[in-house]
Symmetry: C2
Subunit: 344 residues, 2 copies
Amino acid sequence: MAVGTQGAVKLLTPDEVRGVGIEVVLANAYHLMLRPGAQVVEALGGLARFSGWDGPTTTDSGGFQIFSQPELVRVSEEGVRFTSHIDGARVFLSPERAVEVQGAIGADLVMCLDECLPYPVERSRAAESLERTLRWAARCREAHARAGRAQALFGIVQGATYRDLREEAAERLVEIGFDGYAIGGLSVGEGPAVLREVLDWTAPRLPEGRLRYLMGAGTPEDLLAAIGLGVDLFDCVLPTRNGRSATAFTRFGRLRLRNARHARDDSPVEEGCDCPCCKRFSRGYLRHLFLAGEGTAGALLSLHNLRFYARLMHEARRAICGSRFASFCREFLAGLASGGSAGE
Amino acid sequence: MAVGTQGAVKLLTPDEVRGVGIEVVLANAYHLMLRPGAQVVEALGGLARFSGWDGPTTTDSGGFQIFSQPELVRVSEEGVRFTSHIDGARVFLSPERAVEVQGAIGADLVMCLDECLPYPVERSRAAESLERTLRWAARCREAHARAGRAQALFGIVQGATYRDLREEAAERLVEIGFDGYAIGGLSVGEGPAVLREVLDWTAPRLPEGRLRYLMGAGTPEDLLAAIGLGVDLFDCVLPTRNGRSATAFTRFGRLRLRNARHARDDSPVEEGCDCPCCKRFSRGYLRHLFLAGEGTAGALLSLHNLRFYARLMHEARRAICGSRFASFCREFLAGLASGGSAGE
């Protein structure tokens, strides 16, 4: 999934995003409820029509965004009270309200309201928070059933970096029963080793026939590891954020386009890439545009990076279908580490 | 022509610009010589290949940009010494050097180095400056002939707002003989009435069989007036600059997309427009993106505005060929003034 937090993938149009092989766009209910308001999105046809995306859409409930500003937040059993980052308004979000808001926004796939914790966090706090998140999950499930909308609802596995909490979270969410399962509370500074450990505990406890979605991750290496552990779905700001800040993902590792050695380099960002950026533009041109502060550069490199991620996912799927995922990973990781002719 | 000062139309890709019917892109030799350097553009294949534009390209010599920072400039007969706005380096540009730089950058159409004056300016200063600009034009013509590059070179008519100076400038440039003629020193605050007056003095003195190019103008009303006075070619930042700042040009007048009345408006920016913005997105969505600071909004509205300008030019050409330009203008201007269902 490409990240379109406020209803647009930054600097890009839906046609461009679709053109590089992205199938799903993720928006954020927290952002959209504050601006322009869920009712406005609904009045303008719901998220897909509103944002011109003619494929599946998803919204995150906003738990992650709300709890990333802890000084603005007060949690109670009922829900979470927070201050809008836009105008300072006091806002209340309960599990029921999160389902209602996401119902109005109208994505195909919506998420439970969860409490997201920082890393690291003590066990007692993680355990207490997890219990609340699980009670909220049950309330979301109920509100969603009552609303009767044609939206898939995913539960979110929390439990910080504690094995028993993660295992319990997975099992109790499966008991409640969701259309699919997200793994949350990661990519918050725990590092790749801990990320993998948590996935290793969690993913096997989620039903095979349901989608597993790792929220907010990650690097190409993280994605390959997660796919190997059974994760199906990802969202990550890295391809677009790095694209805007002049860092390219390539098969041969990362490339910093502002580097002086690209000044007269006529080669594409990634040899053999079929994206609109690599088909037409040189590293030298992109470097110039980045140094000149031209937004076109961020748009072009976002397209390349999204294409890189989309290709990674498509190739991983083909490798799995061909029973050669392990060798695919080895080769891909060797390429990333090679530096090759392109990396740095 | 769309303006791509630093080698890119702001926020857009060449495919997008081409897609709305723009045929020529104008870059600025002053900007490109300072960054990335004319030799870099040349090494990367010249302006068209460098910037991925597969149609005709133009560069302005940079006179306008240099003289718009008068405190950084010292003019002599030899040329102009100025301070780079990027790194404070001292740079010297002579007519010969302007031709050489534009030769390396490699656009299809290049411009003479001219001195641009502010508005208003006393007659004596305008007359003295014009004499120098005419001597520089002759030197550019000579340097261009010596270089033997397959580039068209245009002379630039100056003379501020003095009829006899403008007339003399036109006549003496025609004596020197150029591939086409630009009318410069306008759109600097003189207002539409003076602009028309200057065109009225100047354009008839330029040969019919050569392109006439009005530099840096203007509003849709200015373009129609100039076309009526025999101008063929325009460049203007208004469609893209206004696009980025949320102002749309439409057949029914201008539209400010940040206006609260568009919040739940499901209609396109301009009913009946065939641009990628109007085909898919509502005013309500664009308003949201502008308020949320999403660059996608500026890209989409730039596309609409470029399409509006391209359509204006195409329709004017058809009207001229059909000997109905006067009635076309009347109707078009009535639409712009109507406010209609769309204007404000």
